[in-house]
Symmetry: C2
Subunit: 197 residues, 2 copies
Amino acid sequence: MSSTREIDALIDMMAKLPGLGPRSARRAVLHLIRKRALLLTPLADLMQTVAVTARECLNCGNVGTSDICDICTSEKRANGELCVVEDVADLWAMERSGVFKGRYHVLGGTLSALDAIGPQELRIPRLIDRVSTENITEVILALNATIDGQTTAHYIADQLDGQVTLTSLAQGVPIGGELDYLDDGTITAAMRARKSL
Amino acid sequence: MSSTREIDALIDMMAKLPGLGPRSARRAVLHLIRKRALLLTPLADLMQTVAVTARECLNCGNVGTSDICDICTSEKRANGELCVVEDVADLWAMERSGVFKGRYHVLGGTLSALDAIGPQELRIPRLIDRVSTENITEVILALNATIDGQTTAHYIADQLDGQVTLTSLAQGVPIGGELDYLDDGTITAAMRARKSL
């Protein structure tokens, strides 16, 4: 299509990344070739390194470079709170906020009858195991506010019922949100959970 | 921020690509780590190869893997037509359409008084040189329909006036375009250049 085999192959492969299509992959590759020394070579080297060193934490499912991640090894974070998230990206989002000081458990997805994903396909048995062995006092279900996310939260709540305090993230108006742009569900949830000033 | 030094560095570098921001870079890196054998390692290898082999054609400015690109070396394409484009991406777009059988000349940008880009910063002297030495009969100015693009086209037309036939791409309604969604300028251009059925 464009010029030569390797460059075309690189464009095709970049186009497979989430968020990039054929057009943006072409732009990205041209940009990389133009900034070869500054961007393309270091990026290739870094990818090579990450391909060798990256691994999933055997305990919580976080992505890092050791078999047990920094959060799981840190004694400071063993405060009895366990935050359950769907995905590593969600864990990173929680960490950026800096609000949570406990440990995490990454499920690796949500229950889905349609896609034949049951508790065994997720890290749910390991979660139940951790709750009974790690002195967990509170499990915070920080799953996405989607139907699959909430179904999964209900299932986990059933499994852990009576063993620990179960909480979930508050639902309401996001900070900086304008009512006019919010969906009905969010406004209903915010109204129901209204607080006295 | 997230997990470890190398992974954070990879995310930061990916976020510098056009079309990707910090959020989509995180998603892309997690995707790459999950598909390590299928995507991350081959991508790193390909980038390494392209970093070594990619070069600009010394004649026309196209990006390929040889000093003179395939189009410039192909005798079949020496039909006297020379298509002037701003950028390699534009050349590739023309090639995908398959409509043009001649050779190209990539300027590498447009004239811009604001950014202090004059004819010497672009491949304009080389273009004038090629027109007099390569038996060019027609120069097609396929520059973007922006102010800078059209300024550059006028400048080149002035320089080459009288030496060759000068043409530019037709302006009008794009195929599949709906009048209601077109800007006034396009509709005016299409109306002025109307054709009898």
